[in-house]
């Protein structure tokens, strides 16, 4: 119980620090939102008028207190650029990013883990060397390149799918699957390569351990040792990696969302930063911080499930 109380208080303190840092760092950035919204030819009067309307004429501390007080009441403020409640803007975007992230994670786990095990099992053989080379490519090549290649292959050359049509799950399930698939796959490819790498290395490391020798001497088959003992230990670092990747993708892939013209959080974050849309950026950074903290928490719980030693310590 103390463990959970500790975790929750850390959670709160981290969020508060994140909100404070992001708010004041943004105050230091040059660039007046009103001027950015109105463009090159805005006159001083127009800018002042908009500043008043957006509340930018108030002191920074007052704005921070207003904002944080609003957050506690579930009010994230109003986006400067869209002039809509931040919660409304985010509510439109979060499902897009979440769907892509979940599909990308499913692909990563479903393809990465079996292939990682396969490469470890065939270590030293030609197929393993070949697959290792491919994973190296997967890690080195950026995801936007895969995005363009997939569009080029499936949309331009084969003309099988439309790449730039976003369909919501509630509108048409297969249409949604179609519109989410290529972006998810583009994100997944490098993640798959990372998972394969990690899993292979940790499996090979574990195999050198004494407990494996003991198990083999007891007459267990290679398969039984692998699935019964080695994998359990090998999964711990892989879970950390998967946790990190999940947190990363749930925050939105800026580049992939731009490539596939998807209305997700990544593209919104970039737009909000360039337009100095403070309330929106602050809320998005808070959201990302919450995601990272929650996923870290889940990863900790998973450790405990897998490794009895951690369970005892907790």
């Amino acid at each position: 119980m103390r463990y959970y109380l500790y975790k929750f208080s850390m959670f709160g303190i981290t969020l508060f620090m994140v909100s404070l840092i992001i708010f004041f760092v943004f105050q230091l950035l040059p660039g007046n939102p009103a001027q950015i919204i109105l463009g090159l030819d805005a006159d001083e009067q127009q800018i002042r008028h908009l500043e008043q309307e957006l509340g930018l004429d108030k002191p920074a501390v007052e704005r921070y207190i207003d904002w944080i007080a609003g957050v506690f009441q579930g009010d994230l403020g109003e986006s400067l650029r869209y002039q809509l409640p931040v919660s409304e803007v985010l509510a439109d975007r979060i499902p897009v990013t979440t769907s892509i992230a979940i599909l990308a994670m499913v692909l990563t786990v479903v393809i990465g883990i079996p292939l990682g095990i396969l490469i470890a099992r065939t270590d030293g053989k030609i197929i393993s060397v070949f697959l290792s080379m491919i994973t190296q490519l997967g890690i080195s090549i950026p995801s936007f390149w895969f995005g363009f290649m997939l569009i080029l292959l499936f949309s331009v050359t084969l003309n099988w799918v439309t790449s730039f049509e976003y369909v919501a799950w509630s509108d048409d399930f297969f249409g949604a699957l179609r519109s989410h698939f290529l972006p998810s796959l583009s994100i997944a490819i490098s993640n798959i390569a990372i998972v394969i790498r990690y899993l292979r290395n940790t499996i090979l490391d574990q195999r050198k351990m004494d407990y494996v020798r003991t198990a083999t001497c007891k007459g267990l088959s290679e398969r039984a040792v692998l699935y019964g003992h080695v994998l359990r230990n090998a999964f711990i670092p892989v879970i950390t990696i998967i946790g990190l990747i999940t947190a990363d993708t749930l925050g939105g892939s800026i580049i992939i969302e731009n490539v596939f013209a998807l209305p997700g959080l990544g593209s919104l974050l970039i737009q909000s930063i360039t337009s100095r849309d403070f309330p929106l950026v602050q809320s998005m950074v808070l959201y990302i911080a919450v995601i990272v903290l929650v996923i870290n928490f889940i990863v900790d719980l998973l450790y405990k499930l897998i490794d009895p030693r951690i369970r005892q310590k907790g």
């Binding site: 660039g31 007046n32 080029l152």
Partner: protein, 515 residues
């Protein structure tokens, strides 16, 4: 664990790819059928999908500031006047107008058969309501300083509007292209209502804006051919090109020369100057740029033709002052040759100014615009020939706006000024007390010229004054006025009717498929 074999997952992966691939086949067929139908139906109807790089900032035309939004929504609204392809003002909702001899009273006669998209008739009250809002006469702040000059607006009859100005202002006429909104309706941010050739249908934030044909448009000859227009938000230019290649987009309204090359002969293009002035702005108040000989030397050392060839692939018009030839009436010809590239002469002028070995110059460039960054690189090479060592400083546009444009904390920079319909809006940038005269050009004679032009009532006289102002900017080498880069619109083969204007205006009513 055994069940989680590699083969099974690979199979699952390929099945998913296949599933995704097959499920779209239907819509492709539907697209082909539609295309065939168009061919037989005398080329009327259909949908056109246009790629837009930025998102709508606000659907309310009085709250929106983004040029792209205005270009899209311009099809939903009409103003009293409109512009033709040459930049001349033509009647729209107004049937005719009359300006009093003292230049203070503008009387507009309105067309009588104009209806808003909700079916209500447009009357002088709507115009009065709209202009009072723009001018801040309805109790709120003025929406734009262009209308602050209005003293009062009267509606003596249902179809007549009389606007009285506080003082003579020749730039006011061009301001009458702003949309007229229905009186006392203020839900434009969600459901805009105008009188234009297209009606607002739907806006999906971050995705698309859909407009449909207005069958009841008051101008019979301008009822659109297209049934529907879809603006798709595609921030990545490379994606827009791929979408064009895969047939998901029909128009890219501004394509780069590389993009044009990539699409090759699969598309048709329309290219024209866009009434933009790309310039290397020189801060006239910092040393040594406050010396006219130094500014002239920089002008002589820069080869604008080479920049046009290298950066714009030849698609640009060389300029000599802050004015583009797309505004023919007011354009002073010949200024582009004021400074023919001459390295020796440039060196001589630098020596006279006390810089025989050149000097170091900081060139701040907004990093968001690759076109300007590329231009900066060419200029760096060219100025090195006369001993001016340029240091390029890249800056994000929002920061650039504050540091360079607002605070004039810079030595030199590269930027493009988008065109306006009125020469005053373009040339007042160099008036001493104009708040965004970030070049910090100060010249009393110039200030007087611009002031005189504003109070002129005769168009020929006005044009003459604006030409003199341009000549002054060139002779004083206020900056290096480089080019007006062309805007190139890429269109799917068989799509025609895109018109180019001296402002960014998407006139969609003439678009039609020919095959």
């Amino acid at each position: 664990m055994k069940k989680f074999g590699g083969k099974a997952f690979l199979l699952l992966f390929f099945v998913s790819v296949l599933l995704v691939a097959c499920s779209d086949k239907g819509s492709n067929e539907a697209g082909e059928q539609a295309a065939k139908a168009n061919k037989n139906e005398e080329k009327m109807g259909g949908t056109v999908r246009i790629a837009m790089s930025t998102e709508v900032d606000n659907l309310d035309p009085y709250q929106s500031a983004a040029t792209d939004t205005m270009s899209m929504m311009d099809n939903v609204y009409d103003g009293l006047l409109d512009t033709d392809e040459a930049g001349e003002l033509v009647p729209a909702i107004a049937e005719s107008y009359d300006i009093s001899e003292d230049g203070l009273v503008y009387t507009f006669k309105l067309k009588e058969n104009v209806t808003f998209h909700d079916g209500s008739e447009l009357t002088a009250e709507d115009v009065k309501y709209s202009y009072e809002k723009l001018a801040g006469l309805s109790g709120e702040e003025p929406i734009s300083s262009q209308y602050e000059v209005i003293e009062k607006i009267e509606a003596p009859s249902d179809f007549e509007v009389v606007i009285t100005l506080k003082e003579k202002n020749s730039a006011f006429l061009a301001a009458n292209i702003r949309p007229i909104l229905p009186a006392d309706y203020d839900n434009h941010s969600e459901k805009p209502i105008g009188t234009g050739p297209f009606k607002f249908a739907e806006y999906k934030v971050g995705q698309e804006l859909r407009l449909v044909k207005n069958e009841d448009y008051y101008n019979d000859k301008k009822i659109p051919n297209m049934d529907e227009v879809l603006f798709k938000i595609m921030p990545d230019p490379e994606s827009a090109i791929l979408a064009m290649q895969s047939g998901e987009i029909d128009v890219i309204p501004g394509i780069s020369s590389q993009g044009k090359e990539q699409l090759g002969d699969t598309i048709e293009t329309v290219s024209a100057p866009q009434n933009m002035v790309q310039l290397m702005a020189l801060n006239n108040q910092v040393e040594p740029l406050n010396n006219i000989n130094v500014r002239k030397a920089i002008n002589l050392a820069i080869d604008k033709d080479m920049i046009i060839d290298m950066v714009a692939e030849g698609d640009g018009v060389k300029l000599g002052s802050n004015f583009s030839p797309s505004m023919q009436v007011y354009y002073q010809e010949g200024l582009e040759d004021t400074y023919q590239t001459n390295i020796d002469e440039a060196k001589k002028l630098l020596a006279e100014a006390g810089y025989p070995d050149g000097f170091n110059l900081e060139l701040t460039v907004p990093s968001d615009y690759q076109f300007h960054v590329d231009t900066a690189q060419v200029i760096t090479e060219q100025l090195a020939q006369v001993g001016i060592q340029v240091e390029i400083k890249l800056m994000e546009f929002s920061t650039w706006l504050e540091k360079v444009y607002n605070d004039a904390q810079y030595e030199s920079t590269i930027i493009g000024f988008t065109g306006k319909l009125d020469p005053y809006e373009i040339l007042r940038r160099y008036v001493s007390d104009y708040n965004n005269n970030f070049v910090q050009y100060e010249n009393e004679a110039y200030d007087k010229l611009i002031h005189d032009a504003l109070s002129a009532t005769d168009e020929a006289e006005m044009a003459d004054i604006y030409k003199q102002a341009q000549t002054m900017l060139a002779e004083e080498a206020a900056s290096v006025f480089i080019m007006d880069p062309y805007r190139t619109v890429a269109m799917k083969k068989g799509l025609q009717g895109w018109k180019m204007y001296p402002i960014q205006k998407f006139n969609l009513e003439d678009l039609h498929y020919t095959e």
